[in-house]
């Protein structure tokens, strides 16, 4: 996979070099598309640590972050990148100490969501990096005290934002799919589609690492919007179009010709069968978090292009040449996306509601203020 980092490191574009999509398998409403690497990246290794799972609070630049954390991930790079063993000898935080400890959060991370744990190793909370980045963007508050805003909003901002996710156990047939389908040789990642929509893209650098992490996908957070689709049905893209392999005017006269037609149609079908346009090839606004040797740990939010309501947030580890060593994404619901879009639009207009209303008249026929109320942003208004 390749990533283009623009100069300011604020925009990236994901591509799929080095990773190949293998035939998908469908179980219930879940479709797994395996991603296979022909050449693993041995200079980057990843591993999971489930030692300190539980409710966690962390001090982050924007305030404090609370969440249920199923596992932390350890990244090790360089010539001495070794296989990360499951029982890593670190503590994420002191249990129960410090006056910052919140009730019900046995683990408190003073250092934030990621930290160095060795000369060439970093430990971080996968997916939470991306979620925290997204939520902190929702904390945007008016910087200019226009009349329409409430004084509390201008002074204190949003206060707190929260986001609900469900674990993989709640996503219908995901448990069945993960346990039933074999892991390919060289498989380093997977695209998970639920009811035809891309739920998450996950990729690591080495097949041995992936093999250990495949089943942990059941513990990750998924967007609730994925399970509210009704009815849940099999989303198998059946191969039924041999016509794609036919040349115009060609007659299928014997088995040899039939085989040729099949091979050509198969090549076309396998390209169609894993539509990844939602995430790949799009511009994503990114933030660089950490430089791990030649690799960069970034998190990103996809730009929302009206009128699509497709958006993903995620994190990635990108090498110098743009190759992706690690990728994990999370799909946002339409409402969350719209909230973010609206706040960005306000910000772009210097928080002037009148100007923003004029600019967005087409997008929000009910009016900008009404839309803010509808999206739950009414606390900003007087």
């Amino acid at each position: 996979m390749k990533v283009e980092l623009s100069r300011g490191d604020t925009e990236i574009c994901l591509g799929l070099d080095g990773l190949r999509a293998a035939p998908a398998q469908v179980w219930g409403e879940v479709r797994l598309v395996p991603l296979v690497r022909d050449e693993p990246m041995p200079e980057l290794r990843l591993g999971l640590d489930r030692q300190h799972r539980g409710w966690t609070s962390a001090d982050v630049p924007g305030g404090r972050y609370y969440s249920y954390v199923p596992h932390s991930m350890v990244l090790s790079w360089g010539d001495r990148a070794q296989e990360v063993k499951a029982a890593w000898e670190t503590t994420l935080g002191e249990r129960g100490q410090g006056r910052a400890r919140a009730k019900g959060c046995p683990v408190h991370l003073k250092h934030g969501l990621y930290r160095r744990v060795g000369s060439h190793a970093v430990e971080f909370l996968p997916l939470h990096l991306a979620i925290e980045g997204f939520l902190s963007q929702l904390l945007k508050a008016p910087q200019v005290a226009w009349r329409e805003y409430s004084p509390e909003a201008v002074r204190f901002g949003a206060g707190a934002v929260c986001m609900e996710s469900i674990s993989g156990h709640g996503v219908g047939s995901l448990a069945g799919a993960l346990s039933r389908f074999e892991i390919h040789e060289g498989q380093c990642g997977v695209l998970i589609y639920v009811s035809g929509r891309l739920a998450t893209a996950f990729a690591v650098s080495h097949p041995d690492d992936y093999r250990l992490m495949h089943h942990s996908l059941i513990h990750d957070a998924y967007a609730p919007v994925l399970v509210s689709a009704w009815p849940a049905q099999e989303h198998e893209l059946v191969f039924d179009a041999l016509e794609w392999g036919e040349r115009p005017g060609q007659q299928v006269q014997d088995v040899g010709a039939l085989s040729e037609v099949f091979e050509r149609a198969y090549a076309v079908w396998s390209h169609e069968a894993a539509p990844m346009g939602e995430l790949f090839g799009q511009r994503l606004s990114a933030q660089r978090l950490y430089n791990a040797g030649p690799f960069k740990l970034v998190r990103f939010v996809s730009e929302v292009v009206w009128p699509s309501s497709e958006a993903h947030i995620g994190e990635a580890i990108v090498g110098e040449d743009g190759r992706i060593g690690y990728l994990k994404t999370y799909r946002l619901s339409a409402e969350q996306v719209q909230r973010l879009t609206l706040l960005r639009q306000l910000e772009a207009c210097d928080w002037d509601i009148k100007r923003a209303s004029e600019l967005t008249q087409a997008m929000y026929p009910m009016g900008l203020k009404q839309k803010m109320y509808a999206l739950g942003l009414g606390y900003l208004l007087r």
Binding site: P23, F181, F239, L258, F262
Partner: protein, 497 residues
């Protein structure tokens, strides 16, 4: 009226397909893509449906190679219904029931008969069947010791009468009352307090007593090679365990039935298979030849191609480990002896293709390419073995076949059949691969002949009377020493010493 007749025929063909699929592959165990408990309900309904609507054919399914579970169900259903009206049918039915019970392994036969008690069925034919079965046991005291639970239950149900010693063993308890004259009863009595006597008993009986008396397992297996009274399966089960305690048990794999051998081979680790590759391959080929000579299938035309799905899902679930793949391996071995040009096309071609006993359940379920290769090779009979779940690409076989039948000349001469070792409880039949391709559930490789005949009937290529001819020949070939069927035993017979 003619169209009604045709419609009835078509419905009959579909019903037969439904039942044969369900009765061949359904066992109530867990499959790779299903769970337990979903299968039991559908089988009972189907048996009742067939019994009521197609009783004559239903009776004759007993010679179509149903699995043990369904054979027991057919016997149970026939006994619980009244006797048929036609005298000739009554004879045939009685003979087939007796032969079916005889063909079942003893525990299955007892379970089948006990099921009638569970259903509350106690007519004259049932009592006669139970009496007949027990009266024809060659070594009844052995059965009394080994299956005393079953025999006790059946005795109460059928009001059986036993000899004095047997009655004591079954109902009164062996500990009181002094010595027995029957040697195995005496051994059984002494085993309650003597370790030496324990070693002389059949293994399963000894296991139970040993557990209650606290005798260690290694002590029990000490002399296990000398021990008689073990069935083949018990011998196999003990073989591996005995190896751990250092005792030797001989199982002669060169004489094993084909399916058992294939399941055994696939259960071995790759290292062990490579180590014993000549021995296993020879046993496999020999078993295949033996199976073919006993259960020949008739092909309309050669060459014959076998397309086998060896994907990951053919390793099936814990309860039926490797069963679908074992079937593919067994058919591959059996058809090598068929006398026609024959080739196997696997869904994944790797080094194990040269030596099929090294095959593992690996890879994607891609059947389209092997099928095309088989057709290109010039096969006139193509047998596809797959669990119906195809993912590389899904619907590939259907797409190819529809174009093959539509456009390629000579396509109608190729006989195609899909054999599926896995039943889907949701649809009462195994998952099909393509419309127009007959899908039949299958249990053992030896059923190939019957299945081909069945598929010709169902697809409309053959008529019912051809199928009936085949079945009647099989009924006549059943050797049953007592030509009176169930009637050869008088109701007041006293069983056992």
């Amino acid at each position: 009226m003619w169209s009604l007749h045709v419609a009835r025929q078509r419905i009959a063909r579909e019903d037969v397909l439904l039942f044969m699929n369900a009765a061949r592959a359904g066992t109530g165990q867990e499959e790779f893509y299903e769970g337990e408990g979903e299968q039991a309900l559908s089988l009972d309904f189907l048996h009742e449906y067939m019994l009521v609507n197609y009783r004559e054919l239903y009776v004759r399914t007993l010679v179509m190679g149903l699995n043990h579970y369904n054979t027991g169900l057919v016997v149970g259903c026939l006994l619980s219904a009244g006797a048929p009206e036609l005298e000739s049918e009554r004879e045939v039915e009685a003979g087939l029931i007796a032969a079916a019970l005889e063909s079942l392994p003893a525990p299955q036969a007892y379970k089948a008969l006990r099921r009638l008690r569970h259903w509350g069925v106690n007519n004259a034919r049932t009592r006669q069947a139970i009496l007949h079965y027990l009266a024809h046991r060659e070594d009844l005291p052995f059965h009394v010791i080994k299956y005393r639970g079953h025999i006790k239950a059946l005795a109460r149900h059928a009001h059986l009468r036993f000899g004095a010693q047997t009655e004591r063993v079954l109902f009164k308890g062996v500990e009181k009352g002094g010595r027995f004259e029957e040697p195995i009863y005496e051994q059984f009595r002494r085993a309650h307090y003597s370790d030496d006597a324990l070693l002389g008993l059949p293994l399963t009986v000894a296991e139970g007593l040993a557990a209650s008396r606290g005798v260690g397992r290694s002590r029990l297996l000490e002399d296990v090679s000398q021990r008689g009274g073990m069935t083949r399966r018990e011998r196999e089960r003990v073989q591996q365990e005995a190896g751990r305690v250092g005792a030797q048990v001989e199982v002669d794999w060169s004489r094993a039935p084909l399916m058992r051998l294939c399941t055994y081979i696939l259960g071995l680790s790759m290292a062990e298979r490579r180590e014993r590759v000549e021995e296993l391959e020879e046993a496999w080929l020999k078993a295949g030849r033996r199976e073919w000579s006993r259960h020949e299938a008739s092909f309309k035309a050669g060459p014959v191609a076998l397309v086998v799905d060896r994907s990951y899902s053919s390793g099936s679930s814990r309860a039926r480990r490797n069963q679908p793949l074992a079937l593919g391996l067994a058919l591959s071995g059996m058809l090598k002896a068929c006398g026609q040009p024959f080739k196997t096309f696997w869904s994944l071609e790797d080094a194990s293709v040269e030596r099929p006993i090294l095959v593992t359940a690996k890879g994607q379920s891609g059947l389209a390419r092997p099928l095309l290769r088989a057709l290109a090779w010039g096969a006139k009979t193509v047998i596809i073995v797959s669990d119906g779940y195809e993912n590389d690409p899904p619907g590939g076989v259907a797409a190819i076949l529809s174009r093959f039948w539509a456009d390629v000349p000579g396509a109608q001469q190729v006989e195609l059949v899909h054999l599926n070792p896995v039943m889907s409880a949701l649809q009462y039949q195994p998952k099909p691969l393509a419309k127009g391709l007959i899908t039949l559930g299958v249990r053992e490789a030896k059923e190939l002949g019957v299945l081909l005949a069945l598929s010709r009937y169902i697809s409309g290529v053959g008529e019912l009377k051809e199928l009936r001819t085949l079945l009647d020949a099989r009924v006549a070939a059943m050797s049953w020493r007592d030509l009176d069927g169930l009637n050869g035993v008088s109701a007041s017979k006293v069983l056992g010493p």
